[in-house]
């Protein structure tokens, strides 16, 4: 194709991609500013922040009951946090183990990866049956937590594996040859260098766990996580307060991304610039 045609074509493609990516989110955001008497569709009756106040319980009693998300939000955050910590630690440790091609590392690799390949509904159902057989009560912090780790750990593992693939072992050897113990070497050399990878693995684990649905559905027990309780409200009737909530959680995710971005910049940025002007000292 003509190169002059290629650029506009790619621009158009990118534009369409972005529209499909952000379109739904933008529609949702607009509808969240619906007036108290409006429904979850256009037209907008009047612009207001009513549903945001409704969500936070700041309105007079209304015909719509408050969205029951408070507890489940906390649960989901706690679950995502626990999952992130465990998955990242496990992922880093096993990726470290895979640096030496130990016996049976091939099969073990595929066993780990299986955790993210098997259909969530199947594992969820299986876990529910298993816990029944064993007489273990299902809970978000127990059965669901285990499944979240099984699901997110392979992602963390793959990220860390890629990081260690590019890792120059000689810096660790340099540290050892200076008389620094292996534990200190990990703490002072290996970990700071792989830290950006650890952040990425954490971001993956957190996001995947935070809106995990199918695995949680059968294993969460009585107390619901956020995706489950939102799904629960769908089955009654949808009001714009759900949209308001969607906007708030999206903002929360963006905040997480910004923090991630800043940390990445802090730890991967070259030291160029930070210490410029030091030549004068010499």
């Amino acid at each position: 194709m003509d190169v002059r045609m290629l650029r506009p074509a790619l621009a158009l493609y990118t534009g369409a991609f972005l529209a499909f990516l952000y379109g739904p989110m933008i529609v949702l955001a607009i509808l969240s500013f619906q007036g108290p008497n409006g429904g979850p569709q256009f037209p907008i009756q009047e612009w207001s922040t009513y549903w945001y106040r409704h969500l936070l319980g700041l309105t007079e009693t209304s015909r719509v009951s408050q969205l029951p998300v408070g507890d489940s939000l906390l649960r989901s955050l706690a679950l995502a946090f626990m999952t992130t910590v465990v998955s990242v630690v496990l992922g880093t440790m096993s990726a470290e183990a895979f640096r030496t091609r130990f016996r049976g590392s091939g099969p073990v690799f595929y066993l780990v990866i299986l955790g993210m390949m098997v259909p969530g509904v199947l594992v969820g159902l299986g876990m529910a049956l298993l816990s029944n057989v064993l007489g273990i009560e299902r809970a978000w912090w127990g059965t669901a937590f285990v499944l979240h780790v099984v699901y997110t750990y392979p992602f963390a593992f793959l990220v860390m594996l890629a990081i260690f693939n590019r890792f120059d072992r000689s810096v660790e050897e340099a540290s050892l040859s200076l008389g620094v113990s292996p534990a200190q070497t990990f703490r002072r050399v290996t970990f700071p260098i792989i830290f950006p990878g650890v952040l990425s693995a954490a971001l993956f684990s957190f996001t995947l766990s935070y809106d995990e649905f199918s695995r949680t559905l059968f294993t969460a027990g009585r107390d619901l996580t956020l995706p489950l309780s939102i799904y629960g409200t769908f089955s009654v009737e949808i009001y714009p307060n759900l949209f308001a909530f969607g906007v708030l959680t999206t903002l929360f995710s963006f905040t997480l991304l910004v923090i991630y971005g800043l940390l990445m910049k802090r730890f991967t940025g070259t030291r160029a610039g930070r210490f410029s002007g030091q030549e004068a000292v010499a």
């Binding site: 340099a174 540290s175 200076l178 200190q184 000292v281």
Partner: protein, 357 residues
Amino acid sequence: MLTLSGITRRYGDATALDGLSFTVPDDAYVSLLGASGSGKTTLLRLIAGFEEPDAGQIILDGVRLDGQPPHRRDIGFVFQNFALFPHLTVEENVAFGLKYRESNAVASAAEVAERTQAALELVGLEGFGHRGVGEISGGQRQRVALARTLVTEPRIVLLDEPLGALDANLRDRMCDELRAIRERLKVSFLHVTGSETEALTMGDTVAVLAGGRIVQSSGSRALFEAPLNASAAKHLNAWNILSGTVEKDKLRTNAGILPVPGSLSDGQSAQIALRFDRIDVSDAAQVPEGRHHFEARFLTGEFNGPTALSFFRTADGALVQVVDHLSSPRLPRLEEGRTYALHYRPEEVLLFEGAEG
């Protein structure tokens, strides 16, 4: 004193080091010359403890080293790629060992700073301490790597092709500086290289590694002028080696039948070595009295600056090189494709018994 005895290291079916024995004396600069793949880096890694030998002993000052973890060996290692800590500044790189080593860590920040500064001064990097390691040149990185190792006062310093990543000018300068720094610190350096010039320049002692063993270890002049065997001679890139079988006190080689010093029994394999700069060239009819000669066709010349290299091929296919020094030229004008007599004084020949190895 570092003593290696009977060191063997195998990788699967390949034997990298085969019963190697070697001694690095105290307060000496030893260079280890070996072709790529000869196992010279393996040898350093065994001494440093990054790998363990399959057999043999490594003893430093009477204490067995093999089997001990690398961080308890007290051996400095300067890597070919420098292996600086990318997340630390120059100063932090140098201070690293002092602050975090397992035994004798320096707790006082003032002492760490003082010794770091002294090490940076030693390698000529005063004032660069606050730079990131990405902001300095290759030569400066080399110095940081050296300072980082030297500041912990190791008992011996291993250098793995330390000049390989530097450009030619810088390499010459670092050669002098490495020697000077070592002489000030009185610690032994074991410097591994694939370049014969570097090995001869740097080492008080030069050891040649070939076939998984040290084939010769002697002073650089002695090694260059009188290699003890064909393997050592080959690594010096200054000797023509002709192998053949003995026939009536002469050697049948693919450069012809050549007289050899001493008497050998018929049918025995032997090799003779002729230094590049000890061969003269003349017309076939004009070989001076009292010199041995053989004939060969002039292939081509190669001009290297101070020296010129000429390549000859004998009728039986042996390649012979002759070096001429520009300051005192002794070769006639050579014509490509013409056959000349290559002659030499009988006592210039070195004889090695045994087949080509």
